[in-house]
Amino acid sequence: MSESIETVKETGMENIYECIYVDGTVRLCTKNLAKGFTVYGERTVNYNGVEYREWNAFRSKLAGAILKGLKENPVKKGSKVLYLGAASGTTPSHISDIVEDEGKVYGVEFSPRVVRELILVAQHRHNLFPILADARFPQSYSSLVEDAEVLYVDIAQPDQTDIAIYNARYFLKEGGHLLLAIKARSIDVTKDPTEVFKTEAEKLKNEGFDVQQVINLNPYDKDHAMVLARFK
């Protein structure tokens, strides 16, 4: 692979890079914390002795949001992240790369089938904690986690904004950030997606969040938006 890579450049965001290939294509990537292991069949690149993993925006909404103009990424080196809807670990693995060993990613997921895959990812990442639990009941995992600078919510449930708010009260630090992926269709199929995004953002405002950005994820995810909000 390394022959086709021209260079790896830093982006404005901490620990997020751009791989630039000889043929001109540019892809987001992160430094692989689990050298030699990939998570979802993503391509790896070796550059100056460092292994990078390509970060596919069609597979990960955070990458999509970054490419679609996220102004500030709250996920930084050393961040503690509570991740609801960790699934098989696609996005959590890149967040684990970004926060590095000083940071922690607490991944909550309630489907046993995908948690098994999440465990396989976590076996090589000691900063990723896979928790089989329902995000509707924060009490059931409150003894395993700690307060976080970032709450990342991607659970595709009709009441997910409420779940996000409820979890924020439990675990989000004052001034911490919420990244909420909204799937319009799972909230209201009849309404126009933009309408749905607006109502959900409104809910957050009423609950003490400062909504900083609503990013439409098209074409990476149709009818999806990523909301960045600050707590209190």
Partner: protein, 408 residues
């Protein structure tokens, strides 16, 4: 007095209404016990550390987060109010590592996080185990696949060595490791390209690389064409991809074994653990076996032979692969095997029926017993007068030895 009580993996902590820490009781820093405690709190059982803390402080009112626990706590005869994310809970969770170190639960933040990581994994696997159906059969297939791959790697590597030796015969003796050998053929190929730099890049040490590069220069092998080397290289690449497949299957096996049979896995590792399941047929079958059967599992042939002829039965079956058995002197092996088999019998029963994690204790007990055996039986036993053997039996033994000398 009113206290704000917060529970966590590390223990139970009482705060006043401004969030000052009043007192605490730690949980035992033991994987199996802590996971038990956590699972119980979900069922509404307060942590033992919480009960102890309340008895110590004798508060008039306790504020807790969990509603499910309040019923049981009320029965302790105190007023209980449930209030999610109360001040004490927020303080505990926002400076968890700091508090854990101060309370001497952990030496440093690294220590607390590595414990929390292990607890989380075990907790999640334990919950998965409830939803587990026939997952032991998946583990059995995985270990059989790994064994098939090993056989294939050996077979292909023998072929590769013979083939590539036409061009570079000296390499066969100098590089014993199949993986390394295949890498040399795949990444370097032609003998002329075998240089010290190229070899160290693959991972050979300096000394070995020098020897090999030297041998390449003086090689008596035949010259071959691009088409020749490409075909040989294809075979080498297949071997390398088999090695990668093996590594990822091992990873998978490790995960599945820790889920279905955590105590057996902790005792003997995922590979040997899965082989035991494979020989028994399932976890349930293994759990029904007496220790004496587990001890000789995989040595059935030798056992039947012994039964038929009245000779001595085997001392160990597949568990011979357990390092402490095969590295020990001959006369200690049977004793270690018996001790290990006894613990394996306990471990497999717990795995099959309750799923609690007691692996750490079991490992400790086995290690202690091995130490005892090593000191008590440090010397070989005095040679006993051996009864004269019949010719036939001896022959069979010789025959078997000859077969084993094969290279792996």
């Amino acid at each position: 007095m009113r206290i704000y009580l917060a529970e966590h993996t590390i223990g139970s902590f009482a705060f006043d209404e401004s969030g000052n820490l009043l007192d605490y009781v730690l949980n035992p820093k033991e994987l199996g016990k802590v996971v038990d405690i956590l699972i119980n709190t979900e069922k509404g059982e307060p942590m033992p550390s919480t009960v102890e803390l309340i008895q110590k402080l004798k508060p008039t009112e306790v504020v807790i987060e969990s509603e499910t626990e309040s019923a049981k706590m009320q029965s302790l005869g105190i007023k209980v109010v449930s209030k999610p994310h109360h001040v004490g809970a927020k303080v505990l969770r926002s400076s968890l590592a700091e508090i854990a170190v101060k309370a001497k639960f952990a030496e440093d933040p690294k220590d607390i996080y590595s414990f929390l990581y292990q607890v989380t994994l075990e907790y999640t696997r334990r919950k998965l185990r409830k939803a587990a159906q026939k997952r032991d059969l998946l583990a059995i297939q995985a270990i059989r696949a790994i064994d098939d791959i090993d056989k294939t790697i050996n077979l292909f590597s023998e072929r590769l060595r013979e083939w590539y030796s036409i061009h570079f015969p000296e390499a066969d003796k100098l590089v014993e490791d199949h993986d390394q050998y295949a890498k040399i053929v795949s990444n370097i190929g032609y003998r002329d390209a075998v240089t010290v730099e190229a070899l160290t890049e693959i991972g050979l040490n300096e000394q070995k690389a020098k020897k090999l590069a030297d041998a390449a220069k003086k090689s008596i092998g035949a010259d071959i064409s691009d088409a020749d080397i490409n075909s040989i290289r294809d075979l080498a690449n297949t071997i390398l991809s088999l090695f990668r497949l093996r590594a990822s299957l091992y990873d998978y096996l490790d995960s599945i074994m820790r889920e279905v049979s955590p105590n057996v896995t902790e005792l003997v590792g995922p590979t040997l653990g899965a082989r035991l399941l494979s020989l028994a047929g399932s976890l349930e079958e293994l759990s029904k076996m007496p220790a004496s059967t587990i001890q000789v599992l995989g040595a059935e042939k030798a056992l039947f032979r012994a039964l038929k002829s009245g000779s001595r039965p085997p001392k160990h079956g597949i568990i011979f692969q357990y390092p402490a058995i095969h590295v020990s002197p001959r006369w200690q092996r049977g004793k270690i095997a018996r001790a290990l088999a006894a613990k394996l019998a306990i471990a497999s029963r717990i795995d099959a029926y309750s799923g609690r994690f007691v692996g750490t204790q079991l490992v400790e007990q086995v290690n202690k017993r091995i130490e005892e055996i090593k000191t008590k039986y440090a010397q070989p036993p005095p040679k006993k007068q051996q009864p004269p053997r019949e010719e036939g039996k001896k022959d069979r033994r010789e025959h078997k030895k000859g077969k084993k000398g094969k290279r792996r």
